[in-house]
């Protein structure tokens, strides 16, 4: 890795003249990319009277909007809901996707190919198509407007199963057979031996699943109806509509919905980027 880095470095020194200009252009582009975020924060710190002042730095920044939203709104509750949903679904995917992926990668049994193809084929089916039957199902079983109702469609995914199968295939059989001889049962072999060997894949899957569920909109919009069960994106939408175009309040809400993921990203940037690369390339 350092060797290639050195090579890259040398390559770059060869083309030095354009470097500063190129860097500057990239920097300006990057700033443009985050402009919406900057303005969101900026506006959330303004009073209603100031929002027509389009300067980025508010004349007299105030946290009053945040105080109002957090004390009167249900953002903390929605934040909790989103966390519960995203965490439970992520854990479930880590467990079941890797269990199935492992079984398909490491066991020879009748029907293995059929099951794999059947699972893979569900990738072709858009959630939008399943939403109506899910809704019907949820209405029948009383899952509407419940945590389980929000979560059940995502408890395992074909994408995750496929991803994990790919990675488990790179685990040498010897590792598992050695454990078998040492007397572990198949579940323990998977859990104690195989799983630790694919941690990069697990973290990639975790990042993807978590982000996907944290930002999910379509299904939660349909299945939740009471405010107590809204996830953050749905809560934000209902909040924004209710605020009826009070932009400083809407921006405060948007900021509240964005801050958690931004913080997590800033803390774990390297892992998240690597996870996205890994999942994107293998998936």
């Amino acid at each position: 890795m350092t060797a290639t880095a050195d090579l890259r470095e040398r390559r770059m020194r060869d083309i030095r003249p354009g470097r500063i200009i190129r860097w500057t252009i990239l920097f300006i582009g990057g700033v443009l990319m985050v402009t919406p975020l900057l303005y969101m924060f900026s506006t959330s710190l303004k009073t209603p009277g100031q929002i027509y002042d389009l300067r980025l730095i508010p004349a007299a920044p105030t946290l009053a909007n945040y105080v109002e939203v957090l004390s009167e709104g249900e953002f903390p509750r929605w934040f909790l809901n989103s966390s519960i949903v995203a965490i439970v679904v992520t854990v479930s995917n880590l467990f079941f996707d890797s269990l199935v992926g492992y079984t398909l990668a490491k066991f020879r049994f009748r029907g293995r190919r059929l099951i794999f193809i059947a699972i893979l084929s569900t990738l072709m089916i858009p959630t939008e198509m399943l939403v109506i039957p899910w809704y019907l199902m949820s209405a029948q079983f009383g899952w509407l407007d419940s945590y389980w109702g929000i979560m059940f469609p995502g408890m395992t995914t074909a994408f995750g199963t496929f991803l994990m199968k790919q990675f488990f295939e790179t685990v040498p059989d010897d590792f598992l057979e050695a454990a078998r001889i040492d007397g572990m049962n198949e579940f323990t072999i998977w859990w104690k031996i195989a799983m630790p060997l694919v941690t990069p894949a697990l973290s990639a899957l975790a990042i993807f699943t978590f982000l996907g569920n944290w930002t999910a909109f379509f299904w939660p919009l349909i299945v939740t109806t009471s405010k107590e069960l809204y996830t953050l994106p749905i809560g934000l939408t209902s909040f924004a509509v209710e605020q009826a175009i009070r932009w400083e309040m809407i921006m405060t809400g948007a900021a509240l919905a964005t801050i958690p993921t931004l913080l997590v990203f800033l803390a774990l940037q390297r892992y998240i980027v690597r996870g996205v690369m890994l999942a994107g390339l293998k998936g």
Binding site: A139, D145, T225, S226, A244, I245
Partner: protein
Amino acid sequence: MTRLHLLAGASAFACLAGSAQAVEIEYWQYIYDTRVEAMDQLIAAFEEANPDITVNQVTFPYADYQTRIVAANMAGQGPDVMQLFYGWADKFIEGGLIQPLPEDVFPPEQIEEEFFPIVSAMERDGQYYGLPTAVRSLALFWNKDLFAEAGIEGPPETLDELIEIGQQLTQKNDAGNFEVVGMTLDMAGQDHQWWREVLVRQMGGQPYSDDYSEVTYDDEAGTEALQFYTDLANVHEIGTPGFMDEGQAAFRAGRAAMTIDGTFRLGSFSEIEDFEWGVAELPANAEGLQSNYASYFANAIGAGAEGEEYDAAVKFLEYISSEEAMAVWLDVVGELPARREAAMTDENMADPIYGPFLAALPYAHTTLFVDEAAQRQVAIDMANRVLLEDQSPADSIAAAAEEEQEIIDDARD
């Protein structure tokens, strides 16, 4: 007779059983803080008067409400008394979710005499399926500060004045952008109701056939109404659609001198601190013809209510459509009483805020929607075709009529 007999039997039985064997009924409505609170008060009062009846209030979020009723009904666990939007009546009757009110307790003639005429939206083939506690209507909200600044005394009383005053109140900056609009133009808000039930009639037309099964605004009057509406933006330039995204937002921000909105907006406008505002009846046409759009949530008896529950339900419905209940409702929720007597008190009529809304009730109309969202969309698109695509109002209205007729036909077959 049989019903009376039954009733007598039932009450006799209830007496025998004593209050220990209280009847329990369920009342359903959607979640809205003040409504739930008002209903809690009414239930408390009712239970005090009828110790043998217990009413459980069950509430659901608005978005989920219809589905819940349908699902519960399928499972045979529907409410005994429920609140429903008048526009859902067809669907609920057809779906067998509600039953007609007993004529002996609620004689139709008496209803028509005592209530505002808009309750007829709950009548089918001479039978009433529900009665409202409260109703809502439209009015013109005006920004007193802006009016005073421009030296205008009071709100417009006719459509011509509306244009004139609107123009005086409109302010643009050097670039030609609106700073303040004379009046908000927001079809997605209440303007579509204003256009349908008010402007069309004021231009001499009728938006729908009497039973609302046929669209009839595709005529000169309709065209004229649309022309009038779009001219507000295109010719008179007293506003522009989508200014500040929503009309009420512009008004609340003090950047619209006038806006047409309903009773239900009172709550959010009451938070305005930057300026004074007033309420006026919608402007009349040159001949003085006035119209308005009123809507309401009615209370109806669930199809599943039988026996003593049915009797209790009838009693409860009787109570919540009484004048006493309406007074509570006005007090707590701010919605207008549905009975003339309760509404048209001197005190109410003199109220600067309730007055204009109440004054409109006797001449208000109620559109029988089959799919409110879709029908509203038709009106939005109709205006947009003229405003954004320069289609002629006549063509646009023809297209709108055809589209809306299709929606109605689809729903009614």
